[in-house]
Symmetry: C2
Subunit: 145 residues, 2 copies
């Protein structure tokens, strides 16, 4: 089990890929996205629908249609994707599954785990959707395999 659900992993990879393609001036169809991020095509379709409803990606139907990211969305943080797919638990939940994390009656791992959680939160808030476009275009970063 990873830190994010499989669905969320596909979502993040897809959004990075779409951002890169938008940066290059293209709208991108599901088939191309799926093959470039190594995900099952119909499942990815479901995920992109959800992201489109959340306003994280944009889409147009018909010939020359596909998915893209509008200027306003380029700077959205990765945390928006994670929250839309997996919810907020990763930002607030207890390491050991207590129903809520608190300073007043903490679990044994609380002090260490809140640092971990903060790091994850910082990473996801600091990182933007379009942040890696150039490195992806240059082929220095990987979204598949």
């Amino acid at each position: 089990m990873g830190v994010f659900s499989k669905t969320c992993e596909y979502a993040i990879r897809a959004v990075f890929y779409i951002s890169q393609r938008t940066h290059e001036g293209y709208k991108t169809g599901i088939k191309e996205i799926a093959s470039n991020i190594d995900s099952p095509e119909p499942f990815l379709a479901k995920i992109l629908q959800k992201l489109a409803k959340a306003g994280i990606v944009q889409s147009v139907k018909g010939p020359n249609g596909g998915f893209y990211i509008d200027i306003a969305s380029f700077d959205r943080p990765l945390s928006d994707i994670v929250e839309a797919i997996d919810g907020a638990e990763i930002f607030t939940g207890c390491a050991m599954g207590l129903s809520f994390c608190s300073e007043v009656n903490p679990c044994p791992l609380h002090n260490d785990f809140k640092e971990v959680r903060n790091r994850i939160t910082e990473m996801l808030h600091r990182t933007s959707i379009s942040q890696f476009d150039e490195e992806l275009i240059r082929g220095q970063l990987s979204l598949n395999k």
Copy 2:
């Protein structure tokens, strides 16, 4: 979704509870453990069987039987529990679900995520099963709710 599976959360809570009770001089039955860590009793039974096979907890059947932790196991790190239940993925896996994490062809989150993963790994290696016994006995830490 948390960082650990639900099964693993129960396992950690149970082991801390058994350690505390062993420290106080008792063997503890499943019913008592389940009610004190707020877990479903028959599911916990399965989990404890697995931990017993892994040598992380010890058990004796029959009257006055139950679960306890032998002296040699007190100092085992929490990572042994996590690895026995969830496997090693949390220590080595890629944030975005690439089939392996590497420096040579990293995903966009690699540099940030390896720090997160290192923190989790350190926390789990540094923390021992018996480390919180006294605070648990004093009621300063919580394993339920």
